[in-house]
């Protein structure tokens, strides 16, 4: 594309970009990398548990791997990959040229990135956190070394990034929709992003507060969770789960959104019961805040609280059920094409239903006393997170890959990946329901022979290797595609319904040469059905205003990264405090620069736009 000042090196370009499409790629690469790291940790866990009394990873080290597996997968893999999809697709789906705050978008990414790097550096600096991803206060305060400090500070930094991203998407969706794109014409994935962003806005502050308290207790002598000083560890459990339960929906609602797009596209039918789908999404988001204490049934809250939270939790099954049936009836009467994304979508239904029904079983408080903290729960949430979220991310990656990179992923390899992953997933986790019911607690680094756990664990480990093989095939596919993949057309799958399929693959920097006029749900499909090639424009062709790129988001995040090291080592090294203050000054100084330097962006001139559009058509 020929726009101004395109002479920058690739690396500098990505360090300073504020373009949502490039930020999406950054999220995809970073999230993908952490997904591999978390996956490797999962393999280590399964190897250790393959046989009783194994000594591959013992005691404290196992706890570190287990903690980092959960923390990495949730915060550093699933969240950023969801953000990758949202960034790549949502602005285009609503007919916008960018997000509301391009600068903050970049800042959100770099905060997440530095937070994630900080957390993972713990492996090389004295040991990783070891109190589980939930990091319950009594254990995490006892934990020696700096592992938990890495957890607290790393999550704090990346949490700010997520919060910023959430606000950004809310404003983008409210303010930046193209003419005619009413709320009830927004694609389902955009709706899911909208509700998810609202959840992020209200769920992350309690985590921030919980983490502040833990930081105060561990690094500055606070007494929030220290019973000897009058503190109370249960406060952490509440704050964590007030965040933690909505977090599940923060992950799974976008997954629902992705599948809604895929079902409609490859059934060649509009989404069945669109308005009830929207309603269900909003309701799930709302109920998601009312049920956090079902993670705490055994804490001793008393039967009244337990009963209320049990019933509230069961209620969530209703909107989720509505969604499942709507998807089934989207396919009903359709003309189903089994592409790789569609395979994931189809496989998602039985897999996720399994996770959903065990969720209802867990909601039955009295019975949950048995399930809680056993492998039954491990099986349940992996059915939800892998069977729901990871399937969706893999599906979304295959589905939107041509849009993001302009090349089609190889379908044969894609299908091999799918079958390996699908088989491995059920092999690994189905049997774990029974291990839990047979009395195996979760988070154990080993088990003794003679308790009936041997076969189940071995099967589970074998399954994990199937998933690892699937991941390798996927990587091979990515490499082959990047090297010599087939070029993708604008409507890469031929059946696209939403606006992103109307623009080139990959889209030009400005997305739309002319802002489109949206005339109904599935705006692009409507135009195609009327025999038109492109969208109806809502404005004459003109100069396009674009935001400037900036290195400041990177520097602001780097400052916090440095500050975190300083404050963590404050007590044992004299340089700690100084480094901490320098880091904060870097951050505040960059924010100051951002505030005082005017940034009016630049314009891509009409002629350049015409030139670029011609290149695409030719």
């Amino acid at each position: 594309m020929s726009t101004v000042a395109r002479k920058k090196s690739l690396i500098w370009d990505y360090l300073t970009t504020v373009d949502h499409k490039k930020i999406a790629i950054l999220y995809l690469i970073a999230g993908g990398f952490f997904f591999l790291v978390g996956g490797l940790e999962a393999l280590f866990i399964r190897i250790q548990l393959a046989k009783p009394n194994n000594d591959f990873l013992v005691g404290g080290l196992y706890n570190q791997v287990l903690t980092m597996h959960g923390t990495t997968m949730i915060f550093l893999a699933a969240m950023p990959l969801v953000f990758a999809m949202m960034n790549a697709v949502v602005p285009i789906q609503i007919g916008a040229r960018d997000v509301a705050f391009p600068f903050l978008n970049a800042l959100g990414f770099w905060l997440f990135f530095f937070g994630g790097v900080f957390l993972n550096l713990s492996w090389f600096l004295g040991g990783a956190p070891d109190a589980g991803w939930t990091s319950y206060a009594s254990l995490s305060l006892e934990s020696p070394g700096h592992g938990i400090d890495f957890y607290v500070l790393g999550l704090q930094i990346s949490g700010f990034g997520t919060l910023i991203g959430g606000i950004n998407f809310l404003v983008t969706i409210i303010n930046m929709r193209a003419p005619g794109m009413t709320y009830m014409r927004m694609p389902m994935f955009t709706w899911a992003t909208f509700v998810t962003s609202a959840l992020i806005l209200f769920a992350f502050p309690p985590l921030t507060v919980g983490l502040i308290f833990m930081m105060m207790d561990r690094l500055f002598g606070g007494n929030f969770y220290n019973p000897a000083g009058g503190g109370n560890t249960i406060i952490w459990e509440h704050l964590f789960w007030i965040f933690g339960h909505p977090e599940v929906y923060i992950l799974v609602l976008p997954a629902f959104g992705i599948f809604s797009e895929i079902f409609a596209t490859f059934s060649k039918k509009r989404l069945f019961g669109y308005s009830s789908m929207v309603f269900a999404t909003v309701l799930i988001g709302f109920l998601g805040f009312m049920v956090w204490a079902h993670h705490m049934f055994t804490v001793g809250m008393g039967p009244i609280a337990n009963a209320i939270f049990a019933v509230a939790t069961m209620a969530i099954a209703v909107p989720t059920g509505i969604k499942i049936f709507n998807w089934l009836f989207t396919m009903w009467g359709g003309n189903i094409r089994f592409t790789t994304p569609m395979l994931y979508a189809v496989a998602f239904i039985p897999s996720f239903v399994m996770g959903g029904v065990t969720g209802v079983m867990n909601a039955a408080a009295a019975a949950d006393y048995q399930y809680h903290d056993s492998y039954f729960v491990v099986a349940h949430f992996h059915y939800v997170i892998v069977g729901g979220v990871v399937f969706a991310l893999l599906a979304g990656a295959h589905y939107w890959w041509p849009k993001m990179f302009g090349k089609m992923l190889n379908e044969t390899l894609g299908k091999i990946t799918f079958w390996l992953f699908f088989t491995g997933f059920h092999l690994t986790f189905f049997i774990q329901h029974f291990l839990g019911l047979m009395g195996m607690p979760r988070r154990v680094f080993t088990y003794l022979p003679g308790q009936g756990f041997e076969t189940g664990n071995l099967i589970s480990t074998v399954g994990a290797f199937f998933m690892a093989a699937a991941t390798i095939v996927l990587l091979v596919n990515v490499v082959i595609t990047t090297a010599k993949g087939q070029k993708a057309e604008a409507d890469a799958w031929g059946d696209g319904r939403t606006l992103e399929w109307a623009v080139a693959s990959p889209p030009p920097e400005y997305n739309f040469a002319q802002t489109p006029l949206v005339r109904g749900l599935d705006a692009f499909w409507i135009e195609k059905m009327e025999g038109k090639k492109g969208l109806t424009p809502a404005e004459p062709l003109g100069d396009i205003h674009m935001p400037n790129s900036s290195i400041l988001p990177f520097v602001i995040s780097l400052g916090l990264f440095i500050a975190a090291f300083g404050f963590m080592y404050r007590t044992e090294h004299s340089w700690g405090l100084a480094v901490g203050i320098i880091g904060l000054l870097i951050t505040l100084g960059s924010m100051f620069l951002r505030s005082v330097i005017d940034d009016h962006g630049f314009h891509i001139h009409k002629e350049e736009v015409l030139e670029a559009e011609k290149g695409v058509k030719a």
């Binding site: 009594s138 099954a317 709507n326 189903i336």
Partner: protein, 355 residues
Amino acid sequence: MKKWLLNWRLFSLFSVMALLLAGCGKPFLSTLQPAGEVADMQYSLMLLSTAIMVLVIIVVTIIFVYVVVRFRQRKGEEKKIPKQVEGSHKLEIIWTVIPILLLIILAVPTVSATFKLADVKPMNKEKRNKDIVVVNVRANLYWWEFEYPDYGIITSQDLVVPTNERVYFNLKASDVKHSFWIPAVGGKMDTNVDNKNQFWLEFDQKATDKAGGIFYGKCAELCGPSHALMDFKVKPLPREEFDQWVEKMKNAKPVVTDSVAKEGEAIFNKSCIGCHAVSPVDKRPEQARTAPNLANFGDRTRIAGILEHNEENLKKWLKDPNSVKPGNKMAGTYGNLTDAQINALTKYLMSLKVE
């Protein structure tokens, strides 16, 4: 609880499931072979919820398979555009109302069971009935203490309870949070560092016999490197035998005759007695009781909760506790012992018997 089960239409499905599940796991450990009132209640709830959920899965699967087979793209139909359906209010109402009904069916027994399991009034009465057995459970980094406040005795690692009656528990932790779980007998409850939790369990005599007289107990909350090894054992006894055991415990004192064991006693009194007591009647406050009470060590079923109970394993444990339970609080507190000293200590410890 059993009555509504009988009336339930899916009774046959229930029995099939129950048969299938009963094959799962060991009778001393599995939640699927319930060994008392609490576990029974929870098992019934499990069966009910599983039955409802299997029903849901069957319905979804039938529609799913039909759709996927029937509406797949066939050769020559690549260009066919199906009818664009907006939705159907009738269908949507159906799949909203039916799940609500199913959930109500599940919610009612759930709420009722939740309240029943929380009924600890008898243990908290001003003048508590003398026959009620109350146990104070205190969880510590990788060991369990069981105190019987009404009898003034303390034991560790092996919980002894009477069968066929409700036993009440006070639960707390002294260092970090743990969770007290006897899978076959009933669901778990956390032992918190901030407060005392209370619940009850009932141990069924027949199930106890079937399980070989002993149930396995577990710590269910991640508590540190040796969380996986924080097991305990439960010995339910008929009420009479339980009463006899209590009497013996009240009067137990170490009786050392063997000369090697005598030597061991001397070592013990020098290196171990600061933490470990050898009498079940330990009047020290709980903060001072920093290690398991060893009064009936010779009667135990396991060394350190996990190893088989024999002299060889005891020596292994005394020599290098960290090789058995990483991160335990005993390692390094009693200096280096020679092999001879360890032998003597082993003899002494094995002689500590109440029964």
